[in-house]
Symmetry: C2
Subunit: 451 residues, 2 copies
């Protein structure tokens, strides 16, 4: 049945106060879709429907509600009820949720969370943003060395229901140091009396709590993992990160790069929910910087135009080429910097490859610039009927602008990485600003030489 | 032990021809790292080392080698040996590998693949690129309804080793129609005699073979899935897609968007391995289009400059502002279009939100433009000592340019989506080209009115 029809039927239950039927329908639905359904209801109805959900479902649904819905709900139900919801959430989801709340509210909610969960949450809230610790969860299955396969299976059956994943098991020693990982599939296939450490992979991949989340993503991507254990400095197992959280980070990092590459300060909030002033604040710094650079670029025109006023017809012809030349230079630079930035981001390029990349860009630029200059030459000569000198000047300037902008475009991101800056900052806006000035200087230099 | 030391030790084994020791060391290593080690060896040694790997490991290592390495290897070993490797690979990896090869070679390799695997591969090679069918695998565990838990566990122990994932099981009817999914955890916790369909989730999420891979990623992301079943038009189970492949697509799609947003035709090849002519070919179309647009933008300057020649001092002052105004307009438009494109890509925005977004951008643009115009006014008056008329003209043009470019920037991507075009094409390069012309027209219009 399609989503529209399902919604219609659910709404008919709500309108007729058929809450038993509604509960029945909701209990066969996916929690993500239940959250989606709740978001279509006005807040009184939403509260009523939320309350008829069984406890174990309601905390999952709460996890998938968006910030606005949750805020709506929190205004209606008491701190105690929220505390109970948070007690039932996976630690990583609970931490994500609490990090969005004002500090005062966090305290009130936490006061109603059961003690054990509260302790863990408090510890997790102290991990810095973007660290492995801040995105991990503690719902994993660990076993001490010496446990047999049969004992492990029994323990799994007893406690596995509440774990975020039971598909990788962790073997630890007395001090909780991680010794190895055991895929559940290997446990299932093994002899009942085998000790669990005989099945384990002692050469496992793991992250440290303070590792950057980008590094975690790299490891998971490189080794095609479903989940990755997180250890502290002493090698003790403190959490795991599952693939759904890795995908969140992957998408978040791509968004952040795209924003930085387009003169925006990155923001984690959804666009629609971000205030107008906050949006303006994220945009102004780069705009201001580039506007001021642009003013100085303008001075170059003024300076040279004074020289060119002796030859007014040539002056006008050259001025007419400025937007085209600056635009082409900017686009060429942006192409080269994009490939370098993305190559660095996905680990395909490293700063040491700079000469190889530069040589490649130089050859690409030669082909591209000659093609562009040829077409431009034809347009100047036959469409605009300019003289040969002007056409030659513009075409020569074009070739050098493309060569230069491709070189700058590919070099700056790699240099930035080398200097431990973010390569994504060396994208179109900055490159364009630099190339604008360069292209003007090149144009006028050629004008001076040829004319 | 760190990677450098491991490499050193492995190399010492190779140099001393200690192949037993080497095999021992390799057999405790991750296949990704073995592939990494092989890539450091020259081709004769690489071949020797590859040949000492046990069969089951060598096909996994082959999966993780890069194209160049594989080509290298394929030149040395016969079609028969390659055929054997491909027979042992997961179908999705084998298909990925074969898709990169020239057609003649594919035939030769396939002739040596065992018949069953060959049939499947041939079917998979027919799915269109970027479809769910093209990235799925057939190594999943399915059970007919009526199977008991005990029988299912026995079957799993017998066949599970060769499956890409056993953590979600699929229940099918006599016609292979997918009835539901059973998480392995639920099977483990269940009573031995329960029929498997009593454990299943009948309200499962699935993809169709011809669905776009982007849609698959959306489903997996939305419902936090570890794997997703793929059915044909009749609802019959034909494959599954696992989270590692979803992450590949996620990264691929982000790269594609970033490339499109920067005037590049998207390419799947690694930058370093792409030939210079291919790179030039991917860049020229947009550059050519934008160069020609730029030429026409230049005509606007020429047209109005003729009018302004009566007032040479004002003419020069205005010309000096052109790079700044065009640059600022371009950057503002690119900021707005980036947020719209990304919002559409991650499913946060939909074309129907266009008025809401436009209203938001209008308010942001008001704040931003007033701030920029004020600073600009101060610079014109006090740094460059221009007259009030020029300063007013430029500042007024600035405000309108920002308002217009933000509006165009946010509207075009949403319009593109509505028209089923790719919003990523409506990014900085195109927006900048449009805004360049608009900002000039605005500047000269104000000049005409105020002066």
């Amino acid at each position: 049945m399609d989503w529209e029809k399902i919604l219609e039927r659910l709404n008919s239950f709500v309108d007729a106060n058929k809450y038993n039927e509604l509960r029945g329908a909701l209990m066969i639905m996916n929690v993500v879709d239940i959250a989606g359904f709740l978001s279509t209801l006005e807040s009184d109805k939403m509260l009523k429907v939320f309350r008829i959900l069984p406890k174990d479902i309601s905390s999952d649904v709460f996890t998938y509600m968006d910030d606005e819905q949750r805020q709506n709900l929190m205004e209606k139900i008491g701190d105690k009820e929220i505390g109970e919801l948070v007690s039932d959430m996976f630690v990583d989801d609970a931490v994500d949720f609490l990090e969005e709340l004002p500090a005062g509210l966090v305290k009130r909610v936490l006061a109603n969370v059961d003690e054990e969960q509260r302790k863990v949450i408090n510890r997790f809230l102290r991990y810095p943003d973007y660290s492995a610790g801040s995105i991990m969860t503690i719902e994993f299955c660990d076993f001490h060395e010496g446990t047999t396969v049969l004992e492990a299976m029994k323990e799994l059956k007893r406690t596995g229901v509440d774990k975020e994943t039971i598909y990788t098991l962790y073997v630890i020693d007395d001090k909780r140091k991680l010794l190895g990982t055991v895929p559940l599939r290997r446990l299932i296939l093994a002899d009942d009396n085998a000790p669990i450490e005989s099945l384990m992979n002692a050469n496992f991949i793991c992250a440290e709590t303070m590792d950057d989340q980008e590094h975690v993503v790299e490891l998971v991507r490189k080794y095609d993992l479903n989940s990755i254990p997180v250890v502290d400095k002493e090698g003790r197992l403190v959490g795991i990160i599952t693939s759904d959280d890795v995908m969140d980070v992957l998408e978040e990092e791509a968004t952040e790069d795209i924003e930085k590459m387009n003169a925006l300060l990155p923001s984690e909030e959804e666009y629609i929910r971000t205030g107008v002033f906050k949006l303006a604040k994220n945009r102004l710094p780069w705009l201001m910087f580039m506007m001021i650079s642009g003013i100085f670029t303008g001075l170059i025109i003024v300076y040279f135009e004074k020289i060119l006023t002796d030859l007014p017809s040539i002056g006008v012809a050259l001025t007419a080429c400025i937007p085209m030349l600056m635009g082409t230079g900017g686009n060429c630079g942006s192409q080269a910097s994009t490939l370098a930035i993305r190559g660095l981001a996905v680990g395909e390029l490293e700063p040491k490859d700079v000469l190889q990349v530069l040589w490649k860009e130089f050859r690409v630029a030669t082909i591209v610039s000659v093609a562009l200059a040829a077409i431009n030459m034809l347009i100047q000569l036959f469409v605009f009927k300019r003289g040969l000198t002007v056409a030659l000047t513009v075409s020569a300037a074009m070739i050098f602008t493309v060569l230069l902008s491709k070189s700058i475009g590919c070099t700056l991101p790699m240099l930035a990485k080398k200097l431990k800056l973010d390569p994504a900052l060396m994208a179109a806006p900055l490159i364009t600003t630099i190339v604008d000035a360069c292209s003007l200087l090149i144009l006028f230099a050629f004008a001076a030489v040829i004319i």
